[in-house]
């Protein structure tokens, strides 16, 4: 019936605050848009409830001026829908009602309206209300921004803490499942079935006596870098690096049904990848090095151990001790797998060659322990 009295979409040059005017009367919509533009705001119009919802979904404005009486979904319906959806619940909505229409105001409050504007519209009232809501909206946005920034910082701190132990991929998974890590490290101590892997550098004591002191730390760092890369690829958790040895756990802190297989694969990868480094060190310093690995599985205590000022997330128990002693007994570039871990990877070991089963005496064990020995050829052909 009517011609449109104003441009449907108009932008003020420096405005960032966007207002959607929803009114089926083009004269009223044009009037409101004109006043908003004069205040340096952006303004857009929608002639009915349906197109208003579409425009809000496509590009949520900062404020909605909403007429109550419209064809299709009326102002109350629109307001209720906006306030009922998480994405638009905080979007300020001002209902346009007749001054004396108290029933509409009550219905508007029930629908969640933030404010009301009387029709006929007085420009001073419109400007005052929009200014107030803009200030509130910007304060709310700023607070939300600060909250998000704090959340990002907190998550980053947790990620850094995790990265001391976990592979980046595993850390991402843990944070995805439990954004604050509370489910993973909730209990200070817990019993869990894990697979422990110990690895240490053979020949390093002699090497450290012959190479310049300034070279020792870079060489150790190179050694641990090779080990850590292999551990992270198999999603193991590094519990400690001490001297020239490393303790790694699998099936902790998250479940890994193939934990023993991951440990054996990691042990192989460690020895193989260290081959080129060992070859270079031999060429440079004339001394032979290799890696001994011990693996065993079983129940351990997992927890944060230490003094309040210095705590370590670690695993303690017989399988850890057995893995450590197997590592000590292992020859350079040998994997010694304890009986429990070997049982778990029986079929995997059956395909491994060369493989040797033997009984070894371990400190603290009354009887010899049946272990599986895997001799691994380092990359580059040395054994």
């Amino acid at each position: 019936m009517s011609d449109f009295a104003a441009a449907p979409l108009a932008k003020a040059e420096q405005a960032a605050f966007r207002v959607l005017v929803v009114d089926d009367d083009p004269d009223m919509a044009g009037f409101l848009v004109r006043l908003l533009l004069q205040q340096g705001l952006q303004a857009e119009t929608a002639a009915d409830g349906r197109s208003a919802l579409e425009k809000i979904a496509a590009a949520p404005p900062d404020l909605v001026l909403l007429d109550v009486q419209m064809p299709g979904p009326d102002g109350f319906d629109i307001c209720r829908r906006l306030k009922g959806q998480e994405a638009t619940a905080l979007l300020p909505v001002v209902l346009l009602t007749a001054l004396e229409d108290q029933d509409s105001r009550v219905r508007g409050i029930e629908a969640g309206a933030d404010d009301f504007l009387s029709k006929p519209v007085r420009r001073e009232e419109l400007i005052a209300r929009v200014k107030t809501l803009r200030r509130l909206h910007e304060t709310r946005k700023e607070l939300e921004g600060r909250r998000l920034a704090a959340e990002v910082l907190e998550k980053e701190a947790i990620r850094k803490a995790f990265s001391r132990y976990l592979s980046p991929r595993l850390a991402e998974r843990v944070l995805r499942d439990s954004p604050r890590g509370e489910d993973v490290f909730r209990d200070l101590s817990d019993r869990a079935a894990v697979v422990a892997l110990f690895a240490d550098l053979r020949g390093f004591t002699r090497l450290s006596e012959t190479v310049p002191v300034s070279s020792i730390v870079p060489m150790l760092n190179e050694f641990f870098t090779v080990l850590t890369a292999a551990v992270h690829e198999n999603e193991g958790t590094v519990f400690s690096m001490a001297g020239d040895s490393m303790l790694v756990g699998f099936n902790v802190p998250v479940t890994q049904v193939d934990a023993a297989a991951r440990a054996v694969t990691t042990g192989r990868a460690i020895i193989q990848r260290f081959g080129p480094v060992a070859a270079r060190w031999q060429a440079e310093h004339g001394l032979s090095t290799g890696i001994g690995v011990g693996i065993e599985s079983g129940e351990v205590v997992v927890g944060n151990v230490g003094a309040p000022s210095f705590m370590s997330y670690t695993i303690i128990g017989d399988p850890v001790n057995v893995a450590a002693r197997l590592m000590q007994r292992a020859a350079p570039n040998e994997l010694l797998i304890g009986p429990n871990a070997a049982l778990a990877v029986n079929s995997m070991l059956a395909r491994s060659a060369p493989l040797e089963r033997r009984a070894v005496e371990l400190k603290g064990k009354a009887e010899p322990v049946e272990v599986v020995s895997l001799k691994i050829a380092p990359a580059g052909g040395r054994r």
């Binding site: 019936m1 009367d25 004269d27 007749a98 519209v121």
Partner: protein, 100 residues
């Protein structure tokens, strides 16, 4: 000819007013048609719209007549509605706009 009725409208609305007045003319025709058809709901809606938009632009009489038409439709006062529509027609014919 009857005396003109002067209405002062804000200067910054000057470019919107021709369309506004054109729409009032169309509105008058629709009011007459709705009255002839006995469509009180449309009369009520049109009155409601007139009430909201009139004074916003500076045309207080449009809002006053709008409220009377809205109320008359609610009360089913056909004679009163007919009188208000005649009054609206007379107003639109006599209105003279001054921009300040």
């Amino acid at each position: 000819m009857s005396e003109p009725i002067t209405v002062v409208v804000a200067k910054d609305l000057e470019d919107l007013v021709p369309t506004f007045m054109k729409n009032r003319g169309k509105e008058l025709e629709t009011l007459r048609a709705a009255l002839n058809a006995g469509d009180v709901e449309q009369l009520r809606q049109l009155g409601h719209r007139m009430r909201g938009v009139g004074t916003s632009y500076g045309f207080e009489k449009v809002s006053v007549l709008g409220k009377q038409i809205e109320d008359g439709a609610g009360a089913g006062d056909r004679a009163g509605l007919a009188a208000r529509i005649v009054e609206y027609s007379d107003y639109l014919a006599r209105v003279k706009i001054v921009y300040e």
